[in-house]
């Protein structure tokens, strides 16, 4: 086996922290980058950020828990987001959500046992002309309904 000189996620995270050392106001920016790198924000990540930015840990936790975007739980390999904004709601998003809940055996906001799928109901994705809209790992699917949504996730199994 050859040696791999590629960076580990922790190396990347430490670089980001280093670039903002002691900058309290950069907290949200650093959390964004950390979640991008690590996938979620477990306690040890929060501790490293608190230490690097010289912010009390409870403040880091307070900020993480305040914003919906930040997650302290790992997400599934395929992250399904069904838009539940007004346009999508009026066009039938609730039926899409419940059909996926049924199909995956989880509630919105949860991840399947095997770590494959997580399901979230989110606010407007900005593609209202295609309502109802869902995305899987950023790929958008428009004009979905209960049946179509089930068909789409089959492609990811």
């Amino acid at each position: 086996m050859g040696t791999c000189n590629c960076k580990t996620p922790w190396d990347e995270l430490n670089e980001v922290i280093e670039a903002h050392r002691g900058q309290e106001s950069a907290l949200i920016e650093v959390l964004h980058k950390a979640q991008e790198i690590m996938g979620y924000l477990p306690r040890d990540v929060q501790e490293a950020i608190a230490e690097g930015l010289r912010v009390p840990l409870n403040k880091v936790y307070g900020v993480v828990s305040f914003y919906h975007h930040f997650s302290v739980e790992p997400k599934g390999k395929y992250q399904i987001a069904v838009c539940n904004g007004t346009a999508c709601y009026v066009k039938g998003a609730p039926a899409v959500i419940s059909s996926l809940e049924e199909e995956l055996g989880i509630r919105a906001g949860e991840t399947t046992q095997d770590g494959k799928f997580s399901l979230a109901a989110v606010r407007c994705l900005g593609a209202c002309s295609l309502a109802p809209v869902m995305t899987i790992n950023q790929k958008a699917y428009g004009l979905v309904d209960a049946d179509k949504a089930k068909e789409i996730i089959k492609q990811y199994e």
Binding site: E24, S25, A26, L27, I28, E29, L31, H32, G62, V63, F66, Y67, H68, H69, F70, N84, G85, T86, A87, C88, Y89, V90, K91, A95, V122, R123, C124, L125, G126, A127, C128, S129, L130, A131, V133, A140, G142, A146
Partner: protein, 627 residues
Amino acid sequence: MIRTLEDLREFKIQQEERSRQEKADKQAKILVGMGTCGIAAGAQEVYEAICDELRQQGIEDVVVAQTGCIGFCAQEPLAEVILPDRQVLYGHIDAEKARKIVTDHIAGGQVITEWAVNGGSLLPKEQQAEAEIVNVGDVPFFKTQVRIALKNCGVINPESLGEYIARDGYQSLAKVLTEMTPADVIEEVKKSGLRGRGGGGFSTGMKWEFAHKQPPGQKYIVCNADEGDPGAFMDRSILEGDPHSVVEGMAIGAYAIGANKGYVYCRAEYPIAVKRLNLAISQAKEQGLLGENILGTDFSFDLEVRLGAGAFVCGEETALLASIEGERGEPRLRPPYPAVSGLWGKPTIINNVETFANIAPIIRRGSDWFGSIGSENSKGTKVFALAGEINNIGLAEIPMGTTLREVIFDIGGGIPEGKQFKGAQTGGPSGGCIPAEFLDTPIDYDNLAKLGTIMGSGGLIIMAEDTCMVDLARFFLDFTQEESCGKCPPCRVGTTVMLDMLNRIVEGKGEVEDLEKLKELGENIKAASLCGLGQTAPNPVLSTMRYFWEEYEEHVRDKKCRAGVCTALFQYYIIPEKCKRCGICAKVCPVKCISGDRQTPYVIDQELCIKCGACMEACPFDSIIKQ
């Protein structure tokens, strides 16, 4: 580098020369709309297919370029073929159609009329007779629009500073820096009558004046690009389609109030907007249009993007500032207003994306011109994001004072599938609805307030007969309750109680007395909440109660939902006389609660039925009803 006014002029001339040259050398240009909705509908594949097909056919004298949202989102993906003599806007194209357009139209000179938005059967009957292809501007969707904030959207490549400058970009910044004092700028903006497009509708010039009058020292200017109203997408489209217009507007504002640093606070859910905005900022910096001593003057201005993290309350200005500072986005009491004490305690001006996009045109064309558009107390235009039960979903920029009827039926093309219009929601979770009887009200700040709603940031959701207004109010309250930051009890506890009551009502457990209680509670929350979120959260409930009281009554008294939305309040029945005993319904039922056979009509076991509606949809004889 553009160091002086002369350099800017030179740059513009070069750009114009370049595009003249391009026109002379090339036979056609193909523009592909690549905003979020275009890309979600497949614009990237279309773009690639066009380039590939041109390459395969060895056609070299055609330019393919991306542009922002063209605005006619219902027709996405859109591509516009621009020839010297005419423009054809193709809608609903995919990779295969794109290739055929190259073959037939570009190589063969044959317009494919039936795919053209400005031709064929997509046009209204009267226009079809006139000509095969009409001007894009004559298509009803575009015809009555007046584009100021959106003037470059869908026209230029948003990633090209040159194209922005060729369309008079940064001329207004140059003008204020070389010919006007900050006080002149404020006077001009005040005179134009421009009011904030982010919801409140406060005079932009007056707001700037407050900050200008603060003693010199560190000041900030902030752009609110949080666009929290779910179902609204005008700010995203401006940022994606014409990011420099916002940068220029902010720089002019910064000069007027004496700020040297600005932030754009943008939703993290808008990755394309963030990318193009960052690109625009770095281009402007590279050319010296941002940074130290802009255009050789004493004015220096630097701009940064900060990302939101999914909290609706951060659209509220004081919460937004807290978030930029890296804190929890909790609002604080005003006064002091941010214009006096904002970011890190310094005077700060916060304006909406669309507000900033109006600034450069006002400076360039003058306040009199701007003031000539719109109505008495609401000048200029407003961009609305049409969505919901409407044919032409998209962006409509209309002069203030246009009636709702014109927007919905002329521009919007009416309600799909012949359904009946029921109401329009403006202002999102802070706003209210407008019922059919007020369709002829001219839209402006004051008229909407009289109807019990607000202009809001421009979300316009159309609802038809099959939308339940009680459920809609519940939907918005569910939103605000979840988004309440929890700092003040009237909002935190009040919205929870209201939501509980509404949940009971839609589940058929409401009492007649609940309605008055709900209304009273709503009034109290409005009066007692700390910030705009709580102060406006009850609006969707109060407004639907005002116009659709009888629907509320039906829910609590008769336990009926006339729209057939609230599942606890209706059941599916098979009419025995109409049942042909085919058994299809029993086959599709996911919970196997329908029984019957060749001899006996099928019946639904109401105890087990989950009301999914699959049987009704499947029945070939329309024997199943919902009641």
